[in-house]
């Protein structure tokens, strides 16, 4: 209803003062920015609370068998033992004395950290540590830089995960958008029917298609690498490094696209078709506007909020598969780390990784909510935001 205020309004009444229109437009713009900020902050607060609850549940699940307690105790013991061996005063102690000393000190320390307090109270400390990924030392795994701090191990691998999934989802979004648009233009054509027939193939996850793609392109044709992120040894020249990485990303991205593109393009094409049968589109056609203009202004614009919601829901589902996806392609991200942590039963890493996934999910939701606010005028102009 109020959308015309933003676009400046059409010049129906020539006698209206131009300046006053400009002033009201400026006012509307400021107001819409304020709305946007308010919406964003609200969403952010809601998400932080949501993540906190999610992490708390994760910790409850993890500590059902006292796993987190054991982690904490191990961290304390390691610290005490390290201090005892480093301290020159204890050099002359017999080993029995030293063990006795360490045990006493561990008991004291665990009291200091409150391990003797009831779990209900301690769980909130775990929550704080979990939220900051401050989960002590890993039991087996090490970061490439040699650190055993869980946080370092995880953060070192985060960029490769973000690069792969960022690129893949970026390509997926625009490819599906263009495919959906062009299919809606040629409704009922062979391509349209083919995509409809192929839509059920999205039932299989990306890692599954990855197996086939590796089989074809790596094992059989031998044109692309089996997996990994760069050639071994990694090239020194940044350009060569980027090229080698791009080569290693072809198969994972292909698998990601194959598993999602048909269903996504089909769904979005349906959205486009629904919106292209609206009366105002007919009106625009009658006015003689060009096809591309109709598509951009009258079809794409109102469909985008729906598309972004559908994309958000899909991404939430796809994150789940990321662990196996990275494992199949041997991509050194947090998913592959998760797989290795399972292999050696490295509890701190597993718990911290779960928390990190909760963060990534929340971040995805937030990012898309933000984009949603940008494209949906109802959010900017007063309204209550997404209707759910």
């Amino acid at each position: 209803m109020a959308t015309d205020v933003i676009t400046g309004g059409l010049d129906f009444n020539a006698e209206v003062d131009v300046e006053s229109i400009e002033a009201s437009a400026r006012k509307a713009r400021i107001q819409s920015i304020r709305q946007l900020v308010r919406y964003t902050v609200l969403k952010l607060v809601a998400l932080v609370v949501t993540v906190a609850i999610g992490v708390y549940i994760t910790i409850l699940v993890a500590n059902m068998g006292g796993a987190v307690d054991k982690m904490r105790l191990a961290t304390i013991r390691e610290g005490v033992a390290l201090a005892a061996t480093a301290n020159p005063e204890f050099k002359n102690m017999s080993s029995a004395q030293r063990v006795d000393y360490i045990n006493k000190k561990v008991e004291l320390e665990s009291k200091r950290f409150g391990l003797d307090r009831p779990f209900a109270i301690r769980s909130f400390e775990f929550l704080r540590d979990g939220m900051t990924l401050n989960l002590g030392y890993s039991q087996q795994l090490m970061s490439d830089s040699g650190s055993r701090l869980v946080r370092n191990i995880l953060l070192e691998r985060l960029p490769s995960t973000l690069i792969l999934f960022g690129t893949a989802n970026f390509i997926l979004f625009f490819l599906a958008l263009f495919a959906g648009l062009s299919l809606s233009r040629r409704y009922g054509s062979f391509a349209d029917k083919a995509v409809l027939t192929l839509a059920p193939t999205s039932a299989a996850p990306a890692w599954f298609y990855g197996l086939f793609l590796i089989l074809i392109f790596a094992a059989w044709l031998k044109v692309l690498p089996f997996g990994g992120m760069v050639d071994a040894p990694p090239p020194d020249n940044p350009l060569d490094y980027a090229l080698s990485m791009a080569k290693h990303m072809i198969l994972p991205i292909m698998a990601w696209l194959v598993s999602a593109i048909f269903l996504t393009a089909y769904n979005w094409r349906t959205f486009f078709l629904i919106y292209s049968s609206e009366d105002y589109v007919e009106m625009a056609k009658a006015k003689g506007l060009s096809d591309s203009m109709i598509e951009r202004r009258y079809v794409l614009r109102p469909t985008l909020p729906n598309i972004i919601t559908s994309f958000a829901l899909m991404l939430i589902g796809l994150w789940t598969g990321a662990i196996i996806f990275e494992t199949v392609f041997n991509w050194p991200g947090i998913g592959e780390l998760y797989f290795r942590a399972i292999g050696v039963f490295d509890t701190p890493v597993i718990v911290a990784n779960t928390v990190l996934y909760a963060y990534l999910l929340a971040l995805t939701v937030f990012l898309l909510d933000f984009i949603y606010a940008l494209v949906d005028p109802r959010v900017r102009v007063g309204g209550g935001g997404r209707k759910q």
């Binding site: 609850i53 996850p205 196996i324 779960t354």
Partner: protein, 453 residues
């Protein structure tokens, strides 16, 4: 019933749906027949039995039907077991205690490739003196090669490949240095290089038994390059056991998870809409929190720390999906339905809350729910496979995902054992596609609006 036939008739318009239904029917038949033919305990015993169960099976053999696609005929396994009556023995008494027993293992070898290995299994009963056995290899062109001698214990496998003296003899015979024994025995001497001589081979085993009570059974196995319809893995296990047993597991897991999660989600959405107010708001917030909790990592965590039982996994999947994002969709629809006039009418005649929810709200939404359940099945089938591929499969039951996991850890793709990954993957794909295709068609039958666009 009439409605059901109606749906079927409409489904027949979609060829993909017909294919899907046939495939699902086949999978269900396999799911019912397999547990009857191979009971659960037997399947677990077979799959975890190790070498003793599978010693007559070749290692890493491709399925037999691979031969149809190859120009060369790969060797199949040949098993001749005197205990099973495959071979008759002739007995000659030499003295009061000692007798000579002659076994003659005769077999056709019409293949183009050599066997992967050859073993003679001897099982002897004796009090103190072990029976002694001498073997002679007779080729189709009549050459006789001494193929070793050994003393038989209660369970003695004699691997031809490990006989260095036989190898030296074969080196002289074939003129090739370090020739593997199995290849040397089947080599055609008139052709340069190693080439199979096809025809009827004979292995004569002459056993001397030194005690009247002692007895001897011999089993000769020439292991093939291909085996059965599914091939074998690195532990000689026949993959058909896992492929067959994977079917009921995948079906049960997928169908139960899809059905239970959908029903609970729908129930909660209906309840929230009907009661409204703060209950609805709380359900909304729980759904949002739930969408942040990463499902697979939680499943993995529980699998690592507590239990890998497939039923615990199933329960957990359902618990975590009760407040799934689907609630939002169902809620939107229930909201519309709630405002309908016929609900007011029901309320006017004094229907209770439960009656309205179960008799008016839910039936209205069933056309949306039934396709949703069917479409959901593949995602759970693949979820189970995903966990197994991560090495968190149920420790006892063989499944499709566990085969892929085994194959991956043994480097199947790298070593060229494609069948090992292809067979379970194709089954997963076929099962997933069948349910997805039927689900899509059901969606169009139940929701005619979709057909217009």
């Amino acid at each position: 019933m009439k409605g059901f036939m109606d749906v079927l008739r409409q489904m027949a318009h979609y060829p993909t749906a017909v294919i899907g239904m046939v495939v699902i029917a086949l999978l269900l038949i396999v799911s019912i027949v397999t547990p009857i033919v191979i009971p659960y305990n037997e399947a677990v015993r077979l799959w975890r039995g190790g070498e003793n169960v599978w010693r007559f099976y070749p290692r890493n053999a491709a399925p037999a039907w691979f031969n149809w696609f190859r120009s060369t005929d790969q060797a199949a396994s040949i098993i001749l077991n005197s205990a099973e009556g495959d071979v008759e023995s002739t007995i000659e008494q030499i003295s009061a205690d000692t007798r000579e027993e002659r076994f003659s293992f005769e077999f056709d070898f019409p293949y183009d490739t050599f066997p992967s290995e050859m073993i003679m299994f001897a099982a002897a009963k004796y009090a103190s003196k072990q029976p002694f056995i001498e073997m002679t290899w007779i080729t189709p062109d009549g050459r006789e090669i001494r193929a070793g001698e050994f003393s038989a214990g209660p369970n003695t496998p004699v691997r031809f490949d490990q006989d260095t003296r036989l190898q030296r003899r074969l080196e002289r015979e074939t003129g090739i240095k370090n020739v593997p024994v199995v290849k040397g025995l089947f080599d055609d001497p008139n052709i340069e290089g190693l080439q199979v001589l096809q025809g009827t081979y004979r292995l004569d085993a002459t056993a001397l038994l030194f005690e009247p009570e002692s007895a001897l059974d011999l089993a000769f196995v020439s292991y093939g390059q291909v085996h059965g319809w599914a091939g074998t893995d690195h532990q000689r296990r026949d993959l058909s056991v896992a492929l067959l047993w994977g079917t009921p597991i995948a079906m049960a897991f997928g169908l139960l998870a899809a059905l239970l999660t959908t029903v609970t989600t729908m129930g909660i959405a209906a309840f929230g809409v009907w009661v409204g107010g703060w209950v609805d708001a709380v359900i909304q917030r729980i759904t949002e929190v739930n969408s942040i909790i990463p499902l697979l990592p939680i499943l993995i965590m529980v699998g690592t720390l507590y239990s890998r039982s497939i039923w615990i996994t199933l329960g957990l999947v359902i618990v975590l999906s009760i407040f799934g994002l689907q609630i939002k969709n169902y809620r939107a629809i229930f909201m519309q339905v709630k405002e309908s006039a016929y609900i007011d009418a029901a309320r006017a005649y004094g229907a209770g809350d439960m009656r309205i929810i179960f008799r008016y709200l839910i039936p209205r939404i069933l056309p949306l729910v039934i396709p949703a359940i069917v479409i959901l099945v593949p995602s759970f089938v693949f979820l189970e496979a995903s966990l197994a591929v991560l090495g968190l499969g149920d420790p006892f039951i063989p499944t499709w995902g566990k085969l892929i996991n085994d194959a991956n850890t043994q480097g199947a793709l790298f070593n060229g054992y494609y069948y090992w990954i292809l067979l379970p993957s194709i089954l997963l794909m076929v099962a997933g596609l069948a349910f997805a295709m039927v689900g899509f068609a059901l969606d169009r039958v139940f929701n005619p609006r979709l057909r217009e666009v």
